[in-house]
Amino acid sequence: MTKLDQLANWCRKNSLWPMPFATACCGIELMATGASRHDIARFGAEAMRFTPRQCDLMIIAGRIVMKMVPVMQRIWLQMPEPKWCISMGACASSGGVFDTYAVVQGMDRFIPVDIYVPGCPPRPEQLIQAVIDLQEKIQQTGTLKGREFEQRQTLEGPVALPLTALRPADLIVAPGNYLTATRQNSH
């Protein structure tokens, strides 16, 4: 890493422009983080823009359903380099409690993620900590021409389980007995 890389990293990390991709209640905490009480402007990331063309930090705040995945991917591709991604909250990171046919079990299966924020939803302090961690990551790994991104060729997130890996009881959940709501185990 050269001195010029370090200078570029110092500029970039202190002037992150978030793209708020808020689809659920995590978005409310994201708004609180941007508002005066928690004030993400103290860390140079207050300039939220609702167009991906002006942003370099995508914050996925909320659950992603299968209809939203192509939209999310297109917005990610529309953001100019260098760019980073924060997966905010349990739903964006793993699907959370929404383990249904329509909800993606972690958006890191489809786009690269730099920082995960646990919580349901996370407190603004946690999101600010994520921004601080991301700043450190940018300072340590960033290069002027984005060479660090070219090195990452493989998918970083988990891959989907094959359907055969799920037990039949996991696949079929129609209750065997509606009066007691017990699950029917064999079909």
């Binding site: 359903v65 299968m66 209809k67 995945v69 192509p70 991917q73 990610w76 591709l77 760019k83 383990d99 249904t100 046919y101 329509a102 909800v103 993606v104 079990q105 299966r109 489809f110 786009i111 690269p112 991104f149 070219e150 990452r152 060729q153 493989t154 998918l155 970083e156 997130g157 989907a160 359907l163 799920l166 996991d170 696949l171 079929i172 959940v173 129609a174 209750p175 065997g176 007995n177 509606y178 009066l179 029917q184």
Partner: protein, 167 residues
């Protein structure tokens, strides 16, 4: 027109033995055969004055205790002049559950019938534009059927992944 008068009207016109009623609290229901749905709905709209279709929905009664038919479809009708409300319920079965569309009576049935079709695969004959409304067009299953796995058949992960080098 009171509930009893509506039931009597339908029994006179469509046969007493095939029209039954049930009640849950203040929810008075008329059970009708699916093949008479079109005529009965037209009668309720034109004669009995139920000019508003408030709700159209369905449920899958697979494995349900004492259920004889698979899908229940109900129509909640309102008379906006008198404030009366009735629930009309009918039943359809596999394979190819089919009902007559009520779109030409209440245009508000448009999206509601599309949603029932989307979730249960019940086809409404005569609907002008019966296609999926919530799920993507390429979705091949009907997810609110009870024999559909809750975690789906892999649809939620059937997308290409973007790596760092590609983006």
């Amino acid at each position: 027109m009171t509930f009893d008068a509506v039931v009597n009207l339908l029994r006179q016109r469509f046969g007493a033995e095939r029209i039954t009623t049930s009640q849950f609290r203040d929810n008075q229901r008329i059970h009708i055969p699916a093949d008479k749905l079109h005529g009965i709905m037209e009668c309720l709209h034109r004669v009995a004055g139920f000019d508003l279709l408030t709700e159209l929905s369905a449920a899958d009664y697979l494995h349900y205790p004492d259920a004889r038919d698979r899908y229940g479809v109900w129509y909640v009708l309102d008379n906006t002049q008198s404030g009366e409300r009735i629930v009309v319920k009918t039943w359809v079965n596999d394979p190819e559950p089919t009902l007559a569309s009520v779109y030409h009576l209440w245009n508000g049935a448009d999206w509601m019938e599309r949603e029932v079709y989307d979730m249960y695969g019940i086809v409404f004959e005569g609907h002008p534009d019966l296609r999926r409304i919530l799920l993507p067009d390429e979705f091949s299953a009907y997810p609110l059927r009870k024999d559909y796995p809750m975690r789906g058949k892999g649809e939620r992960h059937n997308f290409p992944a973007i790596t760092r080098a590609q983006s």
